[in-house]
Symmetry: D2
């Protein structure tokens, strides 16, 4: 893109906003201020239970995943952090991984534990649950794993643990619904007690899958109960794909904000019961409305700092390209939310002018902010069109050659 | 039904349970112990926004509604209480209504307020909300109405207030999601402060309708937050039809039990987004699973006393007949839940025997308890087959004559 | 809006499209070409089963409704037709109504029958169904009503009949599912036989409401079966709000196109189980994707002419304003769909470039076409900002005075 | 179970039915007449995309799967057929497999093709679709695979092919929705042309997964269009778990019956978006209502012969035990459906007696038919309690020893 063309688009954006107190620069600033963690598990080709169709040049280990993350950060300027999953990306030598990250200009965001798969050689199986298992030995193993993840995270400079629990049941009667919750809370208390100073713990809910009848942390209500019981450093993570059909997700965000327990996000999108499509690919207006809540909250509260993470699995798209596109969609949502004339909105709301209140949001949403997010990326040293730049770079073909020899064992997405 | 036939069916039930620690008498006892409030608004023919098809003999006022309630109690022995809705059933003279109820052997359960319709002559409209309205005058009117409902309830011997709030918005931006919640909580604080000694307050959630984009008390999580903020006498009401698609309702019940905030139920059934079908008519197994949670809780806690209310609207069936059928379905669910071999169940759960744990529930569910609930009704002075007895009684034809002159203005169901 | 400002916005749009074969003029042309029928029932304040909150100046009869329709057409240039509902808007004197319409520059689109409410004085009740009723007398009455609607429609110059059937059941067992379908088909055959030359018949499906267990025409599959059985002049109407949760509506549109049976649309939007929100207010990207299918079909088929109708109920917004906003949203969707680079899209699809194929759609969607639709309206003699112009006109206050005396009996939306 | 006890339970059942034209023997006969195919893929432990927790003694090849199938048939007398999946259970030597089956008293039901996974060494990948792929080479490979499956099926004495297509897209724009359908139809025409005399072809729909934005055969409407276009020997398969939230599945069954295109079933159950739980474990009343439709159809049509197949994946339960339980649940549903007093039901339906019509179904459903299905199994040479008998047999422990050496590569369920 020619600089003059972008300049002209930005001028046009300012002109579009001529009747608004907001300017194109507000959109640029919001896009520039937005950063999000890339999950280590999103860099290989994902799959479904029906199969996986690998692509070329998949990273063979966590070091190569960092290389890919560095590409994304270089092209967007918006992903300086990486969210690790253990044991999928367990580093043999955390210091070596930390050195590698430093060299690439990356740091580590929240670490993720995994008690939904059996680790090779583990004494106990999670087939019938981890934190909620009736067997105290299983629960202890799961607690110990989480404490280990914290330890690794500490070595890597992380300061938060994300706990997504697959625990639940497939059939009525399989488990006692209340006992299961109590065991999970008790296990989490032990993990919480092991949090280093300054660390936070995020509990993440999901209505179903892999448990198909009941899930212990099935919705934000249960997640909230857990976070309330654990203490100030526990809060709730909202995965955009982890809701029952028709859920008003931005309302869930608003409620957790009211409860003082919004910990952060796992960004993605979903049309049905899945949770791994590109953020903004199905319900872009909903994504904007979520960012609007965040913008309102940031205006209200000085220290507003939720954790922003991507949680996607890329079955068809090139993972790096998909993540570049995802960051762009998130930046667009942030930029559009920044264009909402919040004073006018509040005025219409108080006056009961339903149509104009709605339209105030829509006016921001219908604005074309792509020039603003391009500008924000350029200012951060990235590319106006990251996907095009990535394709032009030849990176994928290069690593496809380098990595051809290795066998890739795909993790699954959260 | 001949007594000898029923006796033989009951003996057969005992024989079916020969390998269980439970007996037919457990089913009879559970059915006999179950009582449920009949809502005053369920006695006229209901309707949808598309129309109403009235039936003969609808009650013209709250006194005639009590007459109908007395019929239901006489035939089931299970509905000694009535749940009033104001202003639909506002008595001009509460003492006269109380006298009438006493005469009929009825008392008053939770009273229900209504801020989702405009009262004739009211100073303010609820078009844009009641407790959540930006206008403090509207909120005050809504609070005052609730305090009035409490006052009437007190005069009638009630001891609980049910607040179902229609408040919400139809469009993104119409209202501030967090401010709306804060205003509702503030209004509820004022109502809560007006509760007489010994009274309870129930908050009831609903995902949508009449608000079509966001509802303030949209799910059990928000209802819980309200009940927690209000105090010990506030708890949550679960309406079986007020959940998003695929919600595991028995899990919601279990969570509210864990939180110590399960206040009670509005029983009905639903296949889609409606909430007024006969309890057990669509998902009878779910109804059983809810009662199983209640049975477990009652076994754990000595003073377990949730409020049981029916909340249905009868568009096609004769309302009295539909309520008789409803009570039967609820009694069957209670009786089946009492047949669950809870010790065996707990053993299978702890042992990880998924199939046998599930089957332990199913064994109770698949048992034919109709003879047991018939016996319970007979012992309570009711009828083995209440619908048949009602039809044989000629009551409907009689009141159809008596009430023909009156105009019936139908309320709508909650 | 100053003409110079709009000109500058349009130039900016052309500049944004500098790398595309499409231009701002394509968006203007698509918006200008789009027209949609306004339903007579949308001009009064709507409501839910819980209540209705009327606004000022509601039309008291069908003549005043036409006055309101004329306002909408004057401000948008896009609504030259009106879709009548009988008996709600039954004209005593069709010729007088036709004269009035002509005077206002309006004509009549598809006429709508109503067999979901009992007409005063009718011999039979539709409580248990109309076309599907086991009683042949009821079915005949419903057929006769539809034939009457056709007759009125013919007098008014209409050329299509829309049949939305509320028929269904509330409980398992209430009706025989196959017999119900057969009776509906048989009744429709009789109506179809009464279609004048050149007329079309649209069958409209809906999953539930007012029937809460089963609906005879519950989905597009059944609607298709009916249209296939009836003949060439029968086709299927897609109401955007009449789908089960998570339905891919644009896919339904594509299938009906493949079957040669896409008759037209009832535009609105919905988040839950409702069907009356402003088109584009909840899922604007879905609306765009629907228009993309229509654009593809129009490019494939010369004589592509589906019927476009709005079907909304305005509970909170001023009905005229809401319809102006609706037309704007539809025009935006049409304009954006026209900006899709269909050749590039097809190329990416054939090459398996998932990301770029998706992005080709998104590029069109993310374009700000508001200047283009403003231009289209101005060229058609309308207003750049119809809502602002309407408010400035003082029309509502004027008719509020004129119509104050009349009592408005609200119809309900389809 | 003692014979005298069962006799007494059966007598009690007859007594319960004393006012009905049906008898316990009707239930026994219906259970005895019901047979269902066991799918070869259901005999190993299943899993989700998050992991698999294998159990002991999983069959290592298709021969061992037949051994397991024979166990199920021996204990139920209801599963004389096996439904094979290729290539998962591709026999090297079909004749040897046929011999083995004969020896075990088994035959082969419909064969299943698989174009949702890449076969090792295949020339083309199905990553972007099989029958719908823009590349004709991929489509040809998929057609050839289906023709090969038919060939193998013919060698094994099968007479039907089930085609479940995973084809679809993950993102708007990824594919042309209409072209995809056309390619699938064209491919199916080629497969259909290869059907041997007497063979049938079943098309199976599914709303999503593994495609997460659009699926080509997404619902029964599309499945019907395909079956109509193919010809008389094509019909539609209904998988009980393949429906959008809140779908009335028995209504889908009724519609396909009306269209003359109900081919058969894949039995399972589901609470959310999954499709592999034990039939009857979540919505047993729905299962009964489906069987009621089948019973009505069988009464209407002499040659009614849909294909009954189980399609489940057993992640937690022992697969053989789960299938024994499944057969029992299906037999119970068949037996209860046989107890519906269809004449009384039709009478109430015609008379508009909603409550009694519903109750006529419920009366059958609430009847305890477990003694009848136990009797049916005993008469067929099976066990009164198949799970108990299986546990007592020691079969699992025995095969766990025998099969310990082998590595099991788990297939995934359809």
């Amino acid at each position: 893109m020619e600089p003059a063309d972008l300049r002209r688009d930005l001028d046009a954006l300012d002109h579009r906003l001529r009747d608004s107190p907001k300017s194109g620069q507000d959109a640029v600033a919001a896009a520039a201020a937005f950063t999000v963690a890339v999950p280590s598990w999103a860099l290989g080709t994902g799959g479904t239970r029906f199969g996986r169709f690998p692509g070329p040049g998949e990273p063979r280990d966590v070091f190569e995943k960092l290389d890919d993350c560095a590409q994304i950060h270089a092209l967007t300027g918006a992903t300086p952090t990486v969210s690790l999953h253990l044991p999928w990306d367990e580093p043999d030598d955390p210091q070596a991984l930390l050195d590698k990250a430093k060299e690439l200009g990356l740091t580590f965001d929240a670490v993720n534990s995994n008690t939904f798969q059996d680790a090779p050689g583990a004494a106990h199986s999670y087939k019938l649950g981890s934190f909620s298992n009736p067997d105290p030995g299983v629960r202890q193993q799961a607690v110990d794993h989480n404490l280990h993840v914290i330890e690794v995270g500490e070595a890597l400079g992380s300061d938060a643990l994300t706990v997504w629990l697959a625990d639940g049941t497939n059939y009525p009667g399989q488990g006692n619904l209340r006992r299961g919750y109590e065991r999970v809370l008790d296990s989490l208390h032990q993990v919480y007690a092991g949090l280093p100073d300054g660390w936070r713990l995020f509990t993440e809910h999901k209505p179903y899958e892999p448990a198909f009848y009941s899930t212990v942390v099935q919705d934000w209500g249960t997640s909230l109960m857990l976070a309330q019981a654990l203490g100030d450093r526990a809060s709730c993570l909202v995965d955009l794909g982890h809701h029952l059909p028709n859920t008003n997700v931005e309302l869930v965000v608003a409620r957790l904000l009211s409860a003082g327990k919004l910990g952060g996000f796992h960004f993605n999108d979903s049309k049905y019961g899945d949770d791994d499509l590109t953020a903004g690919s199905i319900k872009p207006y909903q994504l904007f409305l979520v960012f609007h809540e965040l913008t309102l909250a940031a205006a209200d509260e000085g220290d507003f700092r939720p954790a922003y993470m991507i949680d996607q699995s890329h079955n068809l798209k090139d993972p790096i390209e998909a993540l570049l596109q995802t960051v762009d969609q998130l930046q667009q949502a942030a930029a559009k939310a920044a264009l909402v004339d919040r004073d006018a909105l509040a005025g219409y709301q108080d006056a009961g002018d339903v149509l104009m209140a709605e339209r105030t949001l829509k006016d921001a949403y219908e604005t074309d902010v792509r020039p603003a997010v391009a500008q924000a990326r350029l200012e951060a040293g990235g590319a106006a069109d990251p996907v095009a730049a990535f394709r032009a770079s030849g990176y994928r073909a290069r690593v496809a050659d380098e990595r051809a020899a290795g066998a890739y064992v795909p993790p699954q997405s959260l």
